[in-house]
């Protein structure tokens, strides 16, 4: 079982995001998607913290943080 508290989750900085879609091409769990207006939509509950989107984002809009049980 995955220790959910040890996963580094992602944070999306929408002030940097240009809503292209490159992060979608890396996301395997559909945590990242487009809404009906084609804006990037992040569903945190689906994120498994693989971080593939972080390195693929051309705007440096995605960063990680560690979940803390406290």
């Amino acid at each position: 079982m995955i220790d959910i508290q040890s996963i580094e989750k992602i944070n999306l900085d929408f002030s940097r995001c240009v809503h292209c879609g490159l992060c979608l091409s890396a996301c395997k769990t559909e945590a990242l998607g487009h809404d009906f207006e084609k804006r990037i939509l992040f569903r945190e509950e689906l994120c498994i913290g693989c971080h593939l989107c972080i390195e693929i984002c051309p705007r440096g809009a995605i960063s990680s943080f560690r979940l803390n049980s406290n």
Binding site: H19, C20, G21, S25, A26, P58, R59, G60
Partner: protein
């Protein structure tokens, strides 16, 4: 034009008539997406008669972009030989204090965290950047070095001048190999695990006038959040192949960092997202028809990037409707695909241009010369010597 064709084109408008309607606030201006609905509901003839201007938009990484700068001379003056803006080297091969900063130039050879596109974005955000220059010194330009902090307003000119922008369409890239590829189309996972595609389909400017009946030198456009101009065909302009391009210019000082945004593409390098919108005057029924083209009717190629060869294998033709659905069928497999361009921002651009025209602050320039429609891109046919 033959007499027969003249008779077939019932509704024709001149630029003067359209501009008069814009000035009087009577012009009917719609986005390319709205035009599709109008034509579906009322037909081509109605749309040609009633609609005056169709606005388009695109927003994507456009590597062939950059800006010419002129900085006032210090005392004593300098004939700049090497110029850096925030550590990013600009091209100098012009007069003493003129230089060109390309958006793909990276600050470091080790990573692509910061490049020319980021410099343009920082300047537009009002940030101060470091300008350093070196020279050998001459009798007329004695200074040998310069290091100053400058803002956008400190430049005499900052002219965005992009040799190749707004490509008509782009391919969908996939990877059949067993290893990850880092490309300008993003990270392509092995064994067809993903795909990325360029262009925004039915919003894309050049899709709506592929034979260049209205777009030409002098056409005014939305460029980076301000009014810009088309100054000619872009490099690698390939209308016969369906890959037309534009060369554009505009005053960087009037632009907006929301539409000029630096990019770092892992394993490839730096680039810059550029926002462009072209107004298409509905001068006849042919234009009305091409302005209503739908994603289902716009096709591009699915291309295997696993080979390093120039002519990569084309795996199939595909519509933008299928691409925008988020997954494509490839040899019986479902592959998730994602855009490299922002459809969301493209819509904002088309809407903004529409608003400018409706408000009367943007009238249409009649092109001085139309963009060529019969040229074709050629690969290099020479052998290494």
């Amino acid at each position: 034009m033959s007499e027969k064709n003249k008779r077939e084109i019932k509704y024709e408008k001149t630029y003067e008539e359209i501009n008069q309607k814009i000035i009087s606030g009577e012009a009917v201006v719609v986005t390319a997406e709205e035009m599709i609905n109008i034509v579906e509901k009322h037909g081509i003839k109605y749309a040609a008669k009633e609609v005056d201007v169709v606005t388009t938009g695109t927003f994507g990484a456009m590597c062939s972009s950059g800006a010419f700068f002129n900085i006032g001379q210090p005392d004593p003056p300098i004939k700049m030989e090497r110029v850096f803006l925030n550590g990013v080297e600009a091209y100098h091969g012009n007069a003493a204090a003129d230089f060109y900063l390309g958006v793909t130039k990276s600050r470091s050879l080790d990573n692509y965290d910061y490049g020319g596109g980021h410099v343009l974005e920082d300047l537009l955000k009002g940030e101060s950047i470091q300008l350093t220059a070196e020279s050998y010194g001459t009798d007329c330009y004695p200074r040998k070095s310069l290091e100053v902090n400058v803002k956008l307003e400190d430049f005499n000119q900052a002219i965005l001048l992009n040799p190749r922008n707004s490509m008509e369409r782009y391919v969908c890239a996939v990877n059949s190999s067993d290893h990850i590829l880092h490309t300008y189309m993003g990270k392509l996972l092995p064994n067809f695990q993903n795909g990325t595609f360029g262009g925004v389909g039915e919003l894309s400017p050049l899709i709506h006038d592929p034979s260049f009946q209205t777009i030409g030198v002098g056409t005014n456009i939305f460029l980076g959040g301000a009014q810009g101009l088309i100054i000619g065909e872009g490099t690698q302009h390939n209308p016969m192949g369906g890959y037309s391009t534009l060369m554009v210019k505009g005053d960087l000082k009037k632009m907006d960092p929301d539409f000029i945004s630096g990019a770092s593409i892992k394993g490839y390098g730096n680039s810059c997202f550029i926002g462009i919108g072209v107004p298409i005057p509905v001068i006849n029924e042919n234009i009305a028809r091409s302005c209503a083209i739908r994603d289902e009717e716009i096709f591009t190629d699915v291309v295997d990037y696993s080979t390093g060869e120039l002519n990569r294998p084309i795996l199939r033709k595909i519509s933008y409707a299928e691409l925008k659905s988020g997954s494509i069928d490839l040899e019986g497999r479902k592959i998730n695909v994602a855009p490299t361009s922002s459809i969301y921002k493209a819509r904002i651009i088309a809407d903004t241009l529409k608003k400018w025209i409706q408000e009367g602050t943007f009238t249409l320039n009649k092109p001085w010369e139309l963009i060529p429609s019969k040229t074709k891109y050629r690969a290099l046919q020479k052998e290494d010597v």
